[in-house]
């Protein structure tokens, strides 16, 4: 069964109103090519799960795709706040369900492990718990008297991840190994779409099976998207593109300027190649290239 498809067809697997979980962490390894395509297809009313997110959430909000963000943190780190996230949440246009990283992980694990809840000590004593009376329960262990938080299931309709390589059957490899928490969303999702730097022959997987990250039965569609994490990084291949973050944040100071920027630099270019050319082209790719680890 050949799972390789176009980015357009893969994005069509995401219905309006779906709960979509986004891989990567902060400035790293986000599935930006696929996120761009969701914006281009004008998805609506998405619930977006991003454990520690930034640019992908901001694009989806700018594109009008988002009903609610479920996250521990949305920012551009030292490069600033995520401007559309900030503005739309402040305006009440987009909802935010703030969890912490580990509370979200535990909810995803409860879903993945088919358990009514996963326990953790995360969140005790904070104001996060009171936000979620329906999904987080503070409890006391009857034997030891210890406090813990029972985190209920978080079902995910579609997980989007970006990785280094896949074969046609859907085996996926993150090289040199999985570092961020993408496996937590893949394991909790009904469907996972993987964009990859390269589609490779199955032989590359059978030759080094210990390096396979996700087996084919966890992956439902594969799309080849070189530099598909741009402007976030993909260790060890390339770093994040600071200039894009700066230009984006600068444009976002004025709504009209941002609208033009977003059309020209993000949604307008017809293909992912065109997108890369609109954002610095070959020179940008050379600038962010890393010596391989």
């Amino acid at each position: 069964m050949d799972k390789v498809t176009t980015i357009e067809e893969a994005a069509a697997l995401v219905p309006d109103g779906a709960t979509v979980a986004i891989g990567g962490l902060s400035m790293n390894s986000a599935p930006m090519a696929m996120v761009r395509e969701l914006v281009r297809q004008a998805k609506r009313d998405l619930t977006v799960v991003g454990i520690v997110a930034g640019m992908p959430v901001d694009w989806l909000i700018a594109g009008g795709c988002v009903k609610t963000v479920v996250s521990g943190l949305v920012s551009f780190e030292g490069l600033g706040l995520a401007p559309n996230f900030r503005a739309m949440v402040q305006a009440g246009t987009v909802g935010i369900e703030e969890y912490s990283e580990h509370l979200l992980i535990c909810r995803l694990q409860a879903q993945a492990y088919n358990l009514p809840f996963m326990p953790t000590k995360a969140g005790l004593g904070t104001d996060v718990l009171a936000l979620h009376p329906d999904t987080l329960r503070q409890e006391v262990d009857p034997t030891t008297g210890e406090h813990y938080v029972a985190c209920t299931r978080l079902p995910v309709d579609v997980a989007l991840v970006h990785a280094h390589a896949a074969d046609a059957r859907g085996n996926v490899r993150v090289e040199p190994k999985l570092l961020w928490m993408d496996s937590e969303i893949v394991n909790a999702a009904a469907v996972t779409i993987a964009t990859v730097e390269r589609v490779v022959p199955g032989r590359e997987f059978t030759d080094a099976p210990e390096r396979t990250t996700y087996p084919r039965f966890m992956i439902h569609a594969v799309v080849e998207a070189p530099y598909g994490a741009f402007p976030t990084s993909l260790f060890p291949n390339y770093g994040h593109r600071s200039a894009f973050f700066d230009d984006y944040s600068t444009a976002a100071r004025d709504p009209q300027t941002f609208k033009a920027f977003f059309a020209e630099r993000v949604t307008g270019p017809p293909t992912w190649r065109d997108f890369l050319d609109a954002n610095g082209g070959a020179g940008a790719l050379l600038d962010i290239a890393r010596r391989t680890a």
Binding site: E77, G78, E98, E101, I105, G123, L124, G125, K177, S183
Partner: protein, 265 residues
């Protein structure tokens, strides 16, 4: 640029890094999150001076990293050079964090209160925010799990140091007293290092207590820039100890030659 410290041959960022560094030891097992230049410099400096066995996981990922320079993101792989292990987040990191194998973490908040609790979620009401901040990230997790918590701030003023947080994103000493112990949490905040002074925590109430003043800063300066009542120690309040020439040389030439730490100011 950051301000020079009167009478010391250094700037305030350097004094903060050195003070942080000296609070570390050979049994420190630390990691860092986003925008954490002061702690990252502190771990690296401690390892190059008095604490060679100190463990530091860069970005919570790269154990024993020894980067040539510090990049613009402290979650970036640019920080990972020389590591002896690239651990991962889902299994390695959260196991070592939950089990307190890592014993040291540092965070700052847009707001901090007298008990070392922090807010990085929202200014104003949660449902009708005046300013929506990035969110607590791992603060609610690591505040509960890690026994030695360090706080820092490069913006010591009454908007940051407040009587009442708009939202408690991360747990310090909670409501004070034995609140952490009642919830089953290990340890708690140890120090809060700011651009004006150093606080420790009064052992019974767990409120911030003035531990030392940076040169040129008065008690009144600190009071005027702090929104809550500060516990005063018995006796005279010492001046924050001066960095040695060695510490400054190593910080400036080996640890952070490109002054990444200035991004916090």
């Amino acid at each position: 640029m950051t301000a020079p410290v009167p009478g010391y041959d250094c700037t305030v960022d350097e004094l903060m890094v050195v003070t942080f560094s000296r609070a570390m030891s050979n049994d420190t097992l630390a990691f860092n999150g986003a925008v954490s230049f002061i702690p990252v410099c502190g771990y690296l400096l401690a390892r190059r001076t008095h604490a060679p066995e100190l463990v530091w996981a860069a970005s919570s990922i790269a154990i024993d990293a020894d980067p040539a320079t510090i990049p613009e993101s402290t979650l970036s792989d640019g920080l990972w050079g020389g590591a002896s292990m690239l651990s991962n987040s889902p299994f390695d990191f959260w196991t070592y964090a939950q089990g307190a194998r890592y014993n040291t973490f540092a965070f700052r908040g847009a707001q901090m209160d007298a008990f070392g609790n922090v807010n990085n979620t929202v200014i104003g009401p949660y449902d009708a925010p005046k300013v929506r901040l990035p969110g607590g990230g791992g603060m609610a997790d690591l505040g509960a799990m890690i026994p030695r918590i360090f706080l820092w701030s490069s913006t010591h003023n009454a908007r940051t140091f407040v009587e009442r947080l708009d939202f408690r994103s991360g747990m310090g000493w909670g409501d004070g007293g034995d609140h952490r112990r009642r919830l089953g949490m290990p340890g708690g905040p140890q120090l809060c290092i700011t651009n004006l002074c150093v606080f420790d925590f009064e052992p019974v109430t767990k409120r911030m207590r003035l531990a030392s003043l940076h040169p040129g800063v008065s008690v009144e300066d600190v009071r005027a820039n702090t929104g809550f009542e500060i516990v005063m120690p018995a006796g005279e309040i010492p001046v924050t100890a001066a960095p040695t020439a060695d510490e400054l040389r190593i910080l400036r030439t080996e640890v952070d030659p490109t002054n990444a730490r200035h991004r916090e100011f």
